[in-house]
């Protein structure tokens, strides 16, 4: 197969599984090492630069990094990347002096930012220090978007939100809270240099089955109900509650209901428990709070008496594969099941809605009534109008909203400078040897076999009493250190120089994971099977290098390398070196200007 081009930034970036999987490409191992060193503020700033909301995300992120984490392929569980981020936020010093200052000179450009969710706030954060005048509009009085209105306070306290939204608004941004934009056309008429739409996906799906109208008083749309709880308008619910739906919203609904008087709260899902959209840890938290999850039940009707809800009737189904191999739910034929209850929370999905965007202003919408948005530039079909977050491609999560925000900010900056927004900046990369002595590295290369440390939770009795009491207590510094040590430092790369190699096999013999093979080159599929251990994980690259005297090639399977550096310690000639690969995404500003 082809020799590996380690000069291409993507090659080593992919080896850092967590960073590659993070939509904002946060340099995870770099901040984890800083946490291990007790340098919480430094760790926080790395996060703040990349993902804008370390304290918020450290509590709520969907963590696409964790399923990707190499540690999870070496033992049972990945590193607790997300909760370590929270440690940086919890134990940092006052970092305000390290934040960018409001621009001393404005550049005269005005940007309208609609919605004050994470996508919009990221756009404003990236642009304001460059001198842009950003006006952020939100129909709500306070910034944060769904982070404030949807995510329950027991997962994300207001203090954390206020702090991190405050850092952004403190950059000289004009925030117009309580102002809803009812016409984009009108706004465009106000002469902004660019507009960013970060209005989210605000509409909860309803469930139109018999009884819906008659029992309406006790049937609530999940996200509307959650925001009403957040605003303090709702503070009670019936004793027996049925939550319909298997996503994260359903998990927040049931756990919130449990705190507002719901003693008997059930979650009921159509499909199997395993197929539920909710993250495994959210399901676990719900189960731990005494909320059972019933599966393979399709809601058929809301039952009611005298205009009052009495329960929900379900048809029992099972999953089957149809002729084309697609999974289908078919009725089992068993009698329907009835769950009596006082209230129902419907959490079966979320939709976009853009009633305030006119369809004759050059912004194309597709057949699903979604704006047509370029996934690289985030620009709509009308130059100068950009979308991001849930408004762009439907409901996702905070970290995706942030990633969109960064890309949109780059586009807006280029757009305002008259540059081609399709030309995207390269990331900044640096590769630095970690060698300090014969057996000494500037990172801790000893591998711990410790298993993942659970995050301490508040006593359930207390937690269930108040919807505003945070459940998770977070790691303390000693737990954080122990958990941080589980990180394999995947950014410290094994870099091979064939011309130095004498083919002594020392690296092959010492490698605990059988990653390294010296062999004849071949086609990739075949080569993968004749390595010291079969390289069956095709999502992980093979590192192939030549320049060996014997004419063979060195093949390293990146899959389960522990980055322990033993190969480099054992190599008599320095043909292996451990080099730290630091990749930082380029954000809006001089570094992304074509003429820079």
């Amino acid at each position: 197969m082809k020799l590996t081009d380690i000069a291409s930034p993507d090659y080593f970036h992919k080896v850092v599984d967590c960073q590659w999987a993070c939509p904002a490409h946060t340099p995870v191992p770099e901040y984890i090492r800083l946490i291990a060193q007790g340098r919480y503020s430094d760790a926080y700033m790395i996060n703040w630069y990349s993902n804008v909301f370390p304290g918020i995300l450290g509590r709520t992120c969907d963590r696409p990094c964790e399923p990707a984490c190499r540690r999870g392929r070496v033992e049972k569980e990945p590193v607790a990347i997300c909760r370590l981020k929270r440690v940086a936020a919890d134990y940092k010093d006052d970092i305000r002096a390290r934040l960018p200052k409001p621009a001393a000179h404005k550049n005269g450009k005005r940007i309208a930012v609609i919605g004050a969710g994470p996508a919009s706030l990221t756009v404003a954060r990236d642009l304001a220090p460059l001198g842009y005048h950003c006006v952020v509009f939100d129909q709500d009085l306070q910034p944060g978007g769904m982070m404030r209105t949807q995510i329950p306070k027991f997962r994300l306290p207001d203090a954390v939100l206020d702090e991190e939204c405050g850092y952004i608004l403190g950059l000289g941004i004009e925030f117009q809270g309580g102002r809803r934009i009812d016409s984009l056309k009108a706004l465009l008429g106000e002469g902004y240099d660019a507009v960013f739409v970060g209005s989210g996906a605000p509409r909860g799906r309803d469930l139109d089955i018999p009884g819906r109208k008659e029992a309406a008083a006790n049937i609530h749309i999940g996200i509307d109900w959650l925001s009403s709880v957040s605003f303090g308008h709702t503070n009670r619910i019936g004793k027996r509650v049925v939550v319909l739906g298997g996503g994260n919203t359903a998990m927040d609904c049931c756990r919130t209901a449990r705190r507002l008087g719901g003693a008997d709260v059930k979650v009921v899902v159509r499909s199997g428990f395993e197929e539920m959209k909710a993250s495994p840890w959210e399901k676990e938290d719900a189960l731990n709070e005494g909320i059972p999850i019933f599966n393979y039940l399709v809601p058929k009707a809301f039952t009611h008496e005298n205009g009052r809800l009495t329960g929900v009737l379900f048809e029992k189904v099972r999953a089957e594969r149809d002729a084309r191999g697609r999974r289908q739910l078919v009725p089992t034929g068993e009698p329907d099941q009835h769950f009596p209850c006082d209230d129902v929370l419907v959490a079966v999905g979320q939709e976009n809605a853009f009633p305030w965007i006119e369809r004759d202003i050059g912004i194309a919408f597709d057949k699903w009534d979604m704006p047509v948005v370029d996934p690289k530039t985030m620009q709509s079909t009308r130059p100068g109008v950009f979308f991001g977050g849930d408004a762009a491609f439907g409901p996702k999560n905070i970290i995706w909203a942030v990633a969109h925000g960064h890309e949109a900010a780059i586009s807006i900056d280029k757009h305002c400078r008259g540059e081609d927004i399709a030309v995207r900046p390269d990331p900044r990369v640096a590769l630095t040897s970690q060698k300090m002595g014969i057996h000494e590295w500037s990172y801790d290369n000893e591998i711990t076999t410790d298993q993942r440390y659970p995050v301490p939770h508040r006593d359930k009795e207390i937690a269930l009493r108040d919807v505003r009491v945070e459940v998770e207590l977070g790691y303390d510094p000693s737990l954080a250190l122990a958990e941080a040590q589980r990180c394999l430092n995947c950014d410290v790369q094994t870099v091979f120089t064939g011309s130095l190699c004498i083919e002594c096999d020392a690296c092959v013999d010492i490698c605990p994971m059988d990653c390294i093979t010296f062999t004849e080159n071949g086609e990739e599929d075949e080569l993968r099977q004749r390595l010291r251990a079969p390289a069956n994980n095709k999502s992980q690259d093979l590192y192939v290098a030549d320049n060996l005297k014997s004419g063979r090639v060195m093949v390293k399977d990146e899959d389960v390398c522990l980055h322990c550096g033993l190969c480099a310690e054992r190599c008599p000639t320095g043909a292996w070196d451990m080099q730290k690969f630091l990749l930082e995404m380029t954000q809006a500003g001089p570094a992304c200007h074509s003429s820079a």
Binding site: T449, I502, C504, D509, I510, D514, L562
Partner: protein, 351 residues
């Protein structure tokens, strides 16, 4: 060397042998030799061979003398028996252990200093007595542990690291082993595991004195230009007479070599050696021819490697001495003191 223990984690898809072990289960503690030492590769080859043969580690005794090479048994088979004897005395300790308990597999690990200098006589006698063992010499041409003096296997004219030239005649341990009647004689190179691992496996299964000379570059003191035991020199002058596959069991052998190129050698215990010929007319069953071939090729400056000689019908010391089958530690008092009548019969036999 490294100061860290090798992490316990292993590749999730590592193959397991018949005992359910992975090759990692055959490791010892982490090596303290210089990074890149050929001896460590031989350690790797022994681990691989024992793993592939699914040997129970407690059925192995590792016995060695003194030297970097003799330290290596610590680095493999951490669950086996071991004895680190004084310099050059591995063969007699091994012989004694073998006589006391013939049920174990004896792995004698030595160096060229340990076996060709101080222990030369010991080496000779263990071989000529036909002790059932695998005798591995990790041959680097120097006394590595004492900082690189020429050993008795250093070639005449080869240069030490500081430039001194060796004027003494070398001892070719393979030639001596052939002459002394070893029933399995091979030479290999630490940098060629595909050749070395099957040779070690075949030697372990061989019921007699099996000798393997493994050229093993000393990266610290004997891997420079002018050395004849360096990685480069050995790779350039290596002349392999054959390639060996070791096969246990009786399954049909599917190998796609042209007729005549492959020879299947049935061993006494039913296991078989599949020998792929590289030197067309080389016959590994003809001891005299082997000695001739070796002498001729050595004179041409070549390093002959491969399975050089194997006796299809070896004998061992126990047969020669007609010793009891049972290990001595398992003999009961009744076996050892058979009573006055037996003594009477015995004495009568001597009258």
């Amino acid at each position: 060397m490294t100061y860290l223990a090798k992490p316990k984690f292993h590749h999730p898809a590592l193959p397991k042998n018949a005992l359910g072990y992975t090759h990692r289960d055959y490791e010892g503690s982490v090596s303290t030799l210089c990074a890149g030492c050929g001896h460590d590769s031989i350690t790797g080859a022994i681990i691989q061979a024992c793993f592939e043969l699914a040997i129970e580690p407690h059925k192995v005794a590792k016995i060695s003398g003194i030297g970097c090479s003799s330290k290596t048994p610590t680095y493999f088979l951490g669950n086996s028996h071991g004895f680190n004897s004084v310099h050059g005395r591995m063969p007699s300790v091994l012989t004694g252990a073998n006589l006391a308990n013939r049920d174990l597999i004896y792995l004698g690990v030595s160096g060229d200093g340990d076996s060709a200098s101080i222990g030369f006589g010991q080496f000779a006698h263990a071989i000529r007595r036909g002790v059932n063992m695998v005798y591995i010499v990790e041959n680097n041409g120097v006394y590595g542990l004492t900082k690189g003096q020429f050993s008795a296997t250093a070639d005449r004219g080869s240069k030490a690291k500081r430039g001194a030239v060796n004027n003494d005649s070398p001892i070719d341990m393979v030639a001596i082993a052939l002459q002394l009647g070893a029933t399995f004689v091979a030479r290999s190179f630490s940098g060629d595991k595909p050749q070395l691992v099957p040779l070690i496996k075949a030697a372990i299964e061989h019921k007699g004195a099996a000798f393997i000379d493994v050229i093993s570059p000393c990266v610290a003191f004997n891997n420079h230009a002018g050395s004849t035991k360096s990685f480069d020199y050995v790779r350039e002058h290596n002349r392999a007479v054959n390639r060996l596959d070791f096969i246990t069991g009786r399954e049909p052998i599917a190998v796609d070599y042209a007729p005549g190129e492959l020879e299947i050698v049935e061993q006494h215990d039913g296991s078989r050696l599949a020998l792929r010929k590289l030197a067309a007319d080389y016959d590994p069953h003809d001891r005299i021819a082997a000695m001739n071939y070796l002498a001729q090729r050595t004179a041409l400056g070549e390093i002959v490697t491969g399975l050089l000689y194997v006796d299809r019908d070896p004998e061992d010391l126990h047969e020669h001495l007609n010793t009891v089958d049972t290990p001595l530690n398992a003999l009961t008092e009744k076996d050892l003191c058979p009573g006055a009548a037996a003594l009477e019969r015995f004495n009568a036999g001597l009258r």
